[in-house]
């Protein structure tokens, strides 16, 4: 659970739940918005991770 990806996913869940609840009023809309937000977080995290992969540290 305490891997980078695991914590990123956990963080994304919390933020997605709060934003979806804030920005949508109907539970069905909240669920759909939250799922899309979560997928966006995970996709962006993995995508940016791969973009940075070739860079030397």
């Amino acid at each position: 659970m305490t891997t980078h990806v695991g914590l990123m996913a956990l963080f994304s869940i919390f933020v997605s739940v709060v934003f979806a609840t804030l920005m949508r009023d109907e539970p069905r809309d909240q669920l759909w918005f939250g799922v899309r937000l979560f997928a966006g977080f995970i996709g962006a995290g993995i995508g940016i991770g791969w973009l940075l992969y070739p860079l030397p540290l």
Partner: protein, 133 residues
């Protein structure tokens, strides 16, 4: 964003009290305004996020301004956004932050963002209390 007509409420009598309550206990403002589902979701999600940050050995930053560490002051303000859980955790001796822990920075991110999200929730409760949503 428009609320459903059934969700519209009359402006609340004391917006300041509701905002203070919403800050002190995550989700309490919405619960008082009869937005039960939203209030409970905020209460559970934000409290769990804050607690997860402490479990990950994040630090609750002390209030005060140090010229040489201005970001610590900003982090403290963000931490304080969570309301009473900030003081309860401090009182119980949590949030010392173990810098050498591998999860230290992750913990800080959870604690800080939980506080900032609660400030957004306070603003939302204010809007609902004003009858805008």
């Amino acid at each position: 964003m428009r609320a459903a007509a059934a969700d519209q409420v009359e402006p609340a009598a004391n917006k300041y009290l509701i905002a203070a309550l919403a800050w002190a206990i995550p989700g309490a403002g919405h619960l008082v305004l009869r937005r039960r589902q939203k209030g409970l979701t905020f209460l559970v999600a934000l409290t769990m996020m804050f607690a997860t940050g402490l479990w990950l050995e994040g630090r609750i930053f002390p209030l005060g301004f140090d010229l040489y560490q201005p970001l610590v002051g900003l982090a403290a303000i963000a931490d304080l956004g969570i309301g009473l859980p900030y003081f309860i955790a401090k009182f119980m001796g949590h949030g010392a932050g173990r810098v050498v822990a591998i999860t230290y920075e992750y913990g800080n991110a959870f604690v800080i963002v939980a506080g900032l999200l609660n400030l957004l929730v306070v603003l939302d409760a204010w809007d609902v209390a004003e009858g805008r949503k």
